[in-house]
């Protein structure tokens, strides 16, 4: 059943996407449930995108950005980190468990961290089961 879990992953071009790439080229295995969407910076992600993903049937949404201080555009990940807190607050109000939304800082060299994060996230979501919005 866990194979039906759908994860939308919004990854920043400069770090986390590179991290996923590193994991891939090193042939590290991670759950294939994640659908990756590359964005230029975590700072361009709006809360609306997360909500839209949930509405369209995602069971979990993952956002990956550069480590704090490493943003290619200087402060994009700070902006995202503040928005992320609002997303957490809001999804709770709509009966979506806050574990279904996760964000992490992963650099381009941290393929192993990307793999580990995806495995953990997949496990959490498998436990929660598919998201049912009423």
């Amino acid at each position: 059943m866990s194979d039906e879990i759908k994860i939308v992953g919004l990854l920043c071009n400069w770090c986390c996407y590179g991290g996923a790439d590193t994991a891939g080229t090193a042939r590290m295995q991670y759950p294939p449930n994640v659908r990756i969407i590359r964005v230029m910076c975590s700072g361009r992600i709006n809360p609306s995108m997360i909500f839209k993903a949930f509405e369209e049937g995602a069971d979990g949404v993952f956002v990956g950005g550069c480590h704090i201080g490493d943003c290619h555009y200087d402060a994009g990940n700070y902006k995202w980190s503040r928005r992320a807190k609002i997303v957490q607050d809001i999804i709770e109000e709509f009966g979506i468990e806050k574990e279904r939304f996760r964000y992490e800082w992963i650099s381009a060299s941290e393929g192993e961290k990307f793999q580990r994060t995806m495995e953990e996230f997949h496990k959490t979501l498998s436990k929660l089961g598919p998201l049912e919005l009423d």
Binding site: N46, F51, I86
Partner: protein
């Protein structure tokens, strides 16, 4: 910040105005001296339950705006932003009005140089329909016979044409589901300290208006009105100041109690499912000003119009846009055709945001809500 007691020197205003008529006199001073182009204040149209924001340009007409109107839950911020942004206006504001103005100033939609704000202390407003119903039920009075109403010492008091008064405790009214609007019961900003001056009768001697002067502009206002002979002033006693802060603290305490009781309900709220996506809450919201470019109108959020919107994709988007700036004015509750308590969740999220950042919408002196800040800080 300083305190002063003031009273009108005009007999007609003294009689028509609430507790000293200082507010009306200050408006008269501003109009007569050409400091402002107009005064935006509430004027009753059909009856006392029908206060309508009106722009007064002739100081003779000011007298018709005197008095208090608790049954007129209006919102001033978006009116100024939409229609009077190029005019110099003086405006009377409740705490939620000045908070909306403050949030719009932060969004560069109102020029603070162009407006004079005369704040009115506010214990809450009553929806006109609820007001009529409760006067009928609890007071045994025909609502049409009431000539004026006021809120004093925890009572909602109505006055009849023959001068007789009847009061009922607001607490008792609210226990039965009447009384102040829900958002007003939750509201913990009772004195509009962002306005140039904040006026009210709390702690004031009979026939005087207690004024808190909040900034230099407010000081100029009082000094000017006094010099031109529109008002007389005196210093309040220590007891008055204390009595006033006591009233404020009691009200805030009551509001916090209601918040604690009500915010729990929001989570289990299935009321969102009643939403028909009419956009009325967005259109009426004083903080939401960018309607033409609203994300909810984008093609990717326009669902098939024959199905009700998904709460997370409709209210969720609005929440993420402005809940941190929600001033709890309750306009969204008032306009919702499906009676969804919209403001409850917006207000709850602004309080959550406050817990995280210390930012109170329309009250904090920060230049911008932290979400808009370019600073390199995490929450």
């Amino acid at each position: 910040m300083s305190y002063v007691l003031a009273k009108s020197k005009d007999d007609a205003i003294l009689k028509a105005g609430e507790c000293g008529g200082a507010v009306t006199s200050i408006f008269k001073y501003l109009l007569d001296n050409g400091i402002v182009d107009g005064v935006l204040a509430l004027r009753p149209e059909d009856d006392i339950y029908d206060g309508v924001p009106t722009l007064i340009t002739n100081s003779e007409d000011l007298i018709s705006t005197a008095g208090s109107y608790h049954c007129a839950p209006t919102m001033i911020g978006n009116i100024i932003q939409k229609y009077f942004s190029d005019k110099k206006v003086a405006v009377s504001v409740k705490p939620c009005d000045i908070r909306s103005i403050d949030e719009l100033i932060k969004r560069h939609k109102i020029d603070p140089e162009k407006i004079y704000t005369v704040g009115l202390n506010c214990g809450g407003t009553v929806s006109p329909i609820v007001g009529r119903k409760m006067i009928d039920l609890f007071y045994d009075i025909n609502p049409d016979d009431v000539v004026s109403e006021e809120i004093d010492k925890g009572q909602f008091i109505v006055e009849l044409a023959d001068g007789s008064e009847k009061g009922v405790k607001i607490h008792d009214l609210e226990k039965e589901g009447y009384g102040r609007r829900n958002n007003c019961q939750r509201c913990d900003v009772k004195i509009p300290r962002k306005a140039n001056i904040a006026c009210g009768n709390w702690g004031a001697e009979d026939g005087w208006t207690f004024i808190e002067i909040n900034d230099d502009k407010g000081q100029e206002l009082i000094d000017g009105a006094k010099k031109e002979g529109f008002i007389e002033t005196k210093n309040p006693s220590e007891q008055s100041i204390e009595a006033r802060s006591k009233v404020e603290n009691i009200m805030i305490k009551m509001a916090k109690k209601v918040q604690n009781a009500k915010f729990g309900d929001a989570e289990a709220m299935d009321a969102w499912n009643r939403c028909i996506g009419c956009y009325a809450c967005r259109d009426v919201c004083p903080i939401c000003w960018c309607h033409e470019n609203c994300e909810l109108n984008k093609s990717y959020f326009k669902d098939d119009i024959s199905t009700p919107p998904s709460p997370i994709a409709f209210q969720g988007v609005r929440l993420s846009h402005m809940s941190f700036s929600c001033i709890d004015c309750g306009q969204c509750d008032d306009v919702c055709p499906m009676d969804i308590p919209v403001s409850l969740i917006f207000d709850k999220l602004q309080k959550k945001y406050y817990d995280r950042t210390g930012y109170v919408a329309g009250v904090s002196d920060d230049i911008k809500p932290p979400l808009y800040s370019p600073d390199k800080v995490e929450l």
